[in-house]
């Protein structure tokens, strides 16, 4: 477990991809950790106004290179993009090298581990800068035994009908709703972007499968003294590739309540567009069946992602779900999370 909350002067690296969807990690950090961000490194956008590219971003300089960033006195460079494919693009490598030479720590969620790159690790040794790879599997390997159930803190899990629907943002907003009520409500990150926001957690998708639930269980046990924790779900119980990870999180966390996150009107798997998503009702039921094998929990509300969906589709989808499932439905970013949060506090059954 890494504690990244100590970084207070973060430079975000988005080289050539700065934008709400092209640099998702950076965009999320600009929403949830803006107070710790001193600037953005992107040669293609240098000098432009940040808020024109990320509407919710505070005004911070966009610089073309590390030399131009030094007067911001960054204490770490966070990689804010996720280029597809394994190898490290040349234009990123240049910035990473320059950062290490200047003694600036690197924090990365890339599948390619920067610390295993000979060139980068040599530079880090020379300058004393650290390389933190969030996808490096934890050295502790434990098999989950269902102990999350024994914690006194209330456990809420966001689950999804697909990848990329907003499980992390919903979990962050639910934790904030708890904090606004004066509760010790903690967001528990299970992916690299969530870890960058909250400072710690585990990138569960990099853990060997026998120990994935165990890693989640450890996270929850570490938060046992909180009033409640909101665990960030991953994947979906109906996703051919990632259902195992989704279930490992479900059984590692043994939630008291689940919030289902759904992209209004999405009918097909985002990463495999010819693949229809299983019907909402079937997924709902599969989540509850699976959860209840270990601990009683229902889906108590639906977080509706309305991005690029017409108002009429959103309205009809909201009404349909409310009527069919008799739970509150809300878009966390537009409507707030109060109704979902309140539902998650009600007794399990």
């Amino acid at each position: 477990v890494h504690d990244l909350t100590e970084y207070k002067r973060i430079l975000l690296l988005t080289e050539g991809r700065l934008g709400v969807f092209t640099s998702k990690t950076a965009a999320v950090l600009l929403r949830y950790r803006h107070q710790d961000i001193v600037g953005v490194l992107d040669s293609g956008c240098a000098g432009r106004k940040l808020s024109e590219l990320i509407p919710w971003a505070p005004e911070r300089p966009i610089v073309p290179d590390i030399a131009g960033a030094l007067e911001l006195e960054p204490d770490a460079l966070f990689v804010g993009i996720h280029p597809t494919g394994g190898a490290l693009p040349a234009e990123l490598r240049e910035h990473l090298q320059a950062a290490l030479e200047a003694g600036i720590d690197l924090v990365s969620g890339l599948h390619t581990l920067l610390g295993e790159d000979d060139e980068l690790s040599t530079l880090a040794q020379e300058s004393g800068a650290r390389i933190i790879d969030l996808r490096r599997p934890p050295t502790q390997r434990r098999v989950a035994t269902g102990r999350a159930r024994t914690t006194g803190c209330r456990r809420i899990l966001t689950v999804g009908t697909d990848c990329n629907v907003g499980k992390m943002v919903t979990a962050l907003e639910l934790a904030r709703a708890g904090q606004r009520r004066g509760l010790d409500a903690r967001f528990l990150a299970t992916g690299q972007t969530g870890m960058m926001v909250s400072g710690r957690g585990v990138a569960v998708d990099a853990v060997v499968s026998d120990f994935a639930a165990g890693a989640i269980e450890e996270l929850v046990l570490d938060a046992a003294d909180a009033d409640l924790c909101v665990v960030e779900g991953q994947g979906s119980i109906g996703h051919p590739g990632f259902s195992g990870v989704a279930l490992a999180i479900l059984h590692g966390a043994c939630p008291d309540a689940m919030i289902l996150v759904h992209h209004a009107g999405r009918t097909h798997n985002k990463s495999a567009p010819r693949e229809p998503l299983p019907p909402l009702r079937a997924q709902w039921s599969a989540y509850e069946q699976a959860a209840n094998l270990l601990h009683p929990a229902r889906i108590v509300g639906v977080a509706l992602n309305t991005h690029e969906v017409s108002k009429s589709v959103v309205q009809s989808e909201k009404k349909r779900i409310e009527e069919e499932f008799q739970v509150p439905v809300a878009n966390p970013l537009a409507d707030g999370c109060e109704s979902l949060f309140a539902a998650a506090l009600e007794p399990n059954y």
Copy 2:
């Protein structure tokens, strides 16, 4: 993927643990691959009659050390035990070293990778012997997309109500039942012991969780030209530590039919004896719900493990399950697998 079927003169290493339950891997190999086994290496049992220790074993010499095994002309030493804990016990190391010095290949399913041991890998280099670690994660990393559904071969999966109930043996027996009918029926191994029996497969519990279903999907696609394949399940959908692996296999394989393997009368998790198992009906339903998210499949029969269960408990459990679920129930080793196999060939719905 390793092809271990080329070894025809296998020496089994069980040092100090030879027995039906203490050397489970060796015992399984003596049942399913006896024609390729030339002897057993176990200094504590040397000279004893093998069939007194493993009732179904053919008569093969038990030798005290590698020197005593050389006249058997072994082409590989298979590690037939799984000592708990990470480190390699000293008494095993001695035999492994002697085998490598004699130019004999090592095949191991231990969590500790023998090929990463400096001493052993140096010896292997010197003598030209190979070290094959079955738990070394595959280098190919693919995310499953549900393509198993597109194969023409019929897919049968054994699923369990707990670990250690007999999913592998049931799968092996089902494949044999198919072969007896003249079908090209293949057993697909998902654990190290099954790999030793069938020569290939993947140790799914050693695969990073994002790629676990993908590894299973590859196995099934490779068997697409068979009439049918029987996939060995792992863990259980209700096991706190291993449910993710169980679901990854389910969605990686997209079975047409599932056979549920249950240990008659078992009420508590074998590895966590204070943990009650979820009720049979709840697990049944969770398996079918989860499977049907991607592909229609029912549990069409129950393989009943009757080890150390009284006749009366077996009888009542069999009757109860048959009446409640209206499927055939059989102990594959005692009753044969014909009824289960026939059920698995019926149309999905």
